[in-house]
């Protein structure tokens, strides 16, 4: 299988980072204790060269800054919609597939920092929109924010498999999303539609009035379907959902599908559609526990056959993580 090694920060203004300084760069062999070049993923700049020219130091790390909350309301008992006005730089940088930020209540200690995906970034008004699921200590703390929030960003690794979404033009793409994981899918749909792709979205009906993002997908021009995806008694895909997928895959020529759900859901869904179409490529919402976002703390580690990667910074091929290849010689 294609060994896909990518650091989402490589080649950006945050590269080289502290990993390079410590001889742990994800991409560059010269910054991983080797003496010769063995570049694992060229993104247009030589990281070693950038490092030398930066006086052998990491670039400055992202820092928390205070911004104003423009809109904050519960759209369900456990879902908080947040709109924050940011500076033009952040608005632009966050207007990308997979972008996320860390949020915390002003004054709260750093360990309260919560990673939150960007659902939309309005670059005219410098307004970003996010949806936070209130789950535990960190998100409850966020709920207490008044008119200010501390924000650190931009980060971009909220979606895995981005290589398959790049340079797509005039293709058909299937997005399948449940719950709060629909938020990053809205951003993905927006960007993919800008590139003239046709997007079909299947959403989990769930409880209440269906997914919060439904109207957003519709207003972007996506074709949207509502289903109940899961049999909860044995956590399997429902017949209704499977039939819809069969029908959609027959009717359309999907190149890529984006899965917005838990890792358990990714596994079920990817295996099911892969069996229908082996040429399908996958992108998945990143569910790792992201704490520092800088590849340092290790809380986001994912085990691949070829070793452990830090999934806050490093990309993987979702097929490599979620698909059970039987007898296909996984290496």
């Amino acid at each position: 299988m294609f060994r896909y090694v990518d650091c989402i920060d490589a080649g950006t203004e945050y590269c080289p980072c502290h990993l390079a300084e410590k001889g742990e760069c994800i991409i560059c062999s010269q910054l991983r204790g080797k003496n010769f070049c063995d570049c694992l993923n060229w993104k247009g700049t030589c990281i070693y060269e950038e490092f030398i020219w930066n006086n052998k130091k990491a670039k400055r790390i992202r820092e928390f800054k205070e911004f104003t909350i423009e809109n904050k309301r519960l759209i369900r008992d456990d879902l908080l919609l947040l709109q924050v006005s940011v500076n033009p730089y952040l608005a632009k940088q966050l207007n990308n597939i997979g972008s996320y930020v860390f949020l915390k209540k002003p004054g709260s200690p750093l360990c309260f920092a919560t990673p939150v995906s960007i659902m939309d970034s309005d670059i005219k008004n410098n307004l970003i929109t996010m949806v936070v699921k209130i789950l535990g200590v960190k998100t409850k703390d966020l709920l207490e924010c008044k008119d200010k929030v501390e924000l650190k960003g931009p980060y971009w690794n909220g979606i895995q498999g981005q290589i398959f979404l790049k340079n797509l033009k005039g293709n058909e793409i299937l997005i399948v999303a449940r719950g709060v994981a629909a938020a990053p899918c809205v951003m993905a749909a927006k960007k993919l539609i800008k590139a003239n792709n046709k997007i079909i979205v299947v959403l989990e009906k769930g409880r209440g009035n269906g997914n919060f993002a439904k109207e957003r997908f519709k207003s972007l021009g996506c074709e949207v379907y509502d289903v109940n995806m899961i049999n909860y008694n044995d956590y399997s895909l429902s017949e209704e959902f499977k039939n819809l997928l069969l029908e959609l895959i027959k009717k359309n020529n999907f190149k890529v599908t984006i899965s917005g759900g838990s890792d358990e859901f990714h596994r079920l869904y990817l295996n099911f559609v892969y069996a229908l179409d082996k040429s399908l490529k996958f992108a998945t919402v990143n569910n790792a526990i992201i704490t520092c976002g800088e590849g340092i703390c290790g809380s986001c580690e994912v085990k691949l056959d070829r070793g452990i990667i830090k999934s806050c910074k490093q990309q993987y091929n979702p097929a490599e993580v979620f698909i059970n290849l039987r007898g296909e010689g996984r290496k």
Binding site: M1, F2, R3, F36, C37, N41, C46, Y48, E49, I163
Partner: protein, 425 residues
């Protein structure tokens, strides 16, 4: 039977062409938009023992590329310090000619596609992956990715990226395919035992030189001008790839050759200093663009091979050109690439592999380099028909001659006339 050639320099072109002539289906993958690699900035052929080697290849039936180079010659029979009877091909036109020829032979060429990984099946390569994840399968693979750069190597072992013809920033870095297949690379050494070597010449824009120099270049193909005493730098000779040009004369003189541009036979030369020389007041570098401060670093990525050009440790991978050893030169790349292409097809259809006879310079150099590379001193040498240790050996063994008839007779005597012309599939 499908042969996949990775890297479209002289060695890769020769390998692809030979595999095609043998009857295989051939795909040639090149990361830039140009074939010939460093051949786009070289231009010197047939100097000293390279004349013999070119004629041997022609007699062996693998003269196609030499004949194109001859047709693209700007000057023939040029002498310059330490070198005799050189042909200078025009670097501005030759790439298009070679490309046309490879297409006419039915070779499938992929441009702007960089190979980044291999899929193994035991000790064989099953397929290679391009940077975008595309998988390309094949029966036999030939790596001719050269040994130049990439940026990190040019920085660690040189003066940084000089913006050479391989254009890493635009097309991404060279990587070692053999290493991805599990075989450690070998490295060349400089006389002080540091790694690698710096390319030994650069190109000046001819129109930026004085009328007098331009006219002399157009007429004679060569101009020799003494370097101002205070600027003579003998140390620069030691870092050079091209030991055949690492002579005192090249430090004490500016040697210019007309290859379409004015080829300056030194690794790099600070622009301010260069412009002090009469006739050079407006001079500019054209390759590498930053020839005022640096040049590319080479020989950090050779695969261990046998004398059939097969990589030791991988069952179906061959190498040619700089990837296959401390060879310098177009001629050397074509010779080794041709044998790699030929043996790749033999392996693919289950025939035993062949070596070229030592009684020919083209066979002897392949063995001599392989043998010598085993020693520390041998790793400090470069191997070329045009000079340094190997040309000395050619003269001693009476392998060097410019008598074409004699070469043909010798090849006839070995029953090898037009050997490379035979279809074997």
């Amino acid at each position: 039977m499908k042969v996949v050639v990775i890297g479209g320099g002289w060695a890769g072109c020769a390998a692809a062409l030979q595999a095609k002539k043998c009857g295989a289906e051939v795909i040639l993958i090149e990361r830039t938009d140009l074939l010939l690699g460093l051949g786009n900035v070289g231009g010197i052929i047939r100097n000293n023992g390279r004349f013999t080697a070119a004629e041997e290849m022609i007699a062996l039936g693998a003269g196609d590329l030499f004949q194109i180079a001859d047709r693209c010659a700007r000057h023939k029979n040029v002498d310059f310090p330490g070198h005799k009877h050189a042909t200078l091909y025009d670097v501005n036109i030759i790439e298009a000619e070679v490309r046309k020829y490879l297409y006419s032979m039915g070779i499938n060429i992929l441009f702007e596609k960089r190979v980044v990984d291999v899929e193994m099946e035991g000790k064989s390569i099953k397929s290679v992956y391009l940077h975008d994840g595309t998988e390309i399968e094949g029966d036999v693979f030939i790596e001719t990715t050269g040994s130049t750069g990439p940026i990190g190597n040019c920085l660690r072992y040189g003066n940084g990226c000089s913006m050479c013809i391989l254009r890493c920033p635009s097309y991404g870095p060279r990587i070692s395919i053999s290493m991805r297949a599990g075989v450690e690379d070998l490295q060349g050494l400089r006389s002080d035992e540091s790694f690698g070597a710096m390319s030994g010449s650069c190109k000046l824009e001819k129109d930026s030189l004085s009328k007098e120099i331009r006219e002399k270049l157009d007429r004679d193909g060569v101009v020799v001008i003494p370097v101002p005493k205070e600027d003579i730098n003998m140390d620069k000779l030691n870092i050079k790839v091209c030991q055949q040009y690492a002579l005192k004369e090249f430090a004490e003189n500016i040697v210019l050759l007309d290859t379409g541009h004015a080829k300056l036979m030194t690794s790099y030369y600070p622009l301010e200093k260069l412009r002090k020389i009469p006739g050079f007041e407006r001079v500019r570098f054209i390759d590498p663009y930053s020839g005022g401060k640096a040049n590319s670093i080479r020989y950090l990525s050779m695969a261990p091979r046998d004398n059939h050009m097969k990589v030791i440790g991988v069952d179906n991978l061959f190498v040619g050109g700089e990837k296959s050893g401390l060879f310098v030169g177009h001629t050397e790349a074509i010779v080794t690439g041709t044998l790699a292409g030929y043996n790749a097809v033999r392996l693919g259809i289950g025939l035993n592999l062949v070596e070229l006879p030592s009684t020919l310079a083209v066979g002897d150099i392949i063995k001599f380099e392989n043998e010598n590379k085993k020693t520390l001193d041998g790793l400090k040498q470069r191997y070329t028909f045009a000079g340094a240790v190997y040309f000395e050996r050619m003269k001693q063994l009476d392998l060097y001659t410019t008598d074409i008839e004699k070469i043909r007779k010798k090849v006839d005597g070995l029953l090898l006339r037009d050997f490379f012309k035979n279809r074997i599939i």
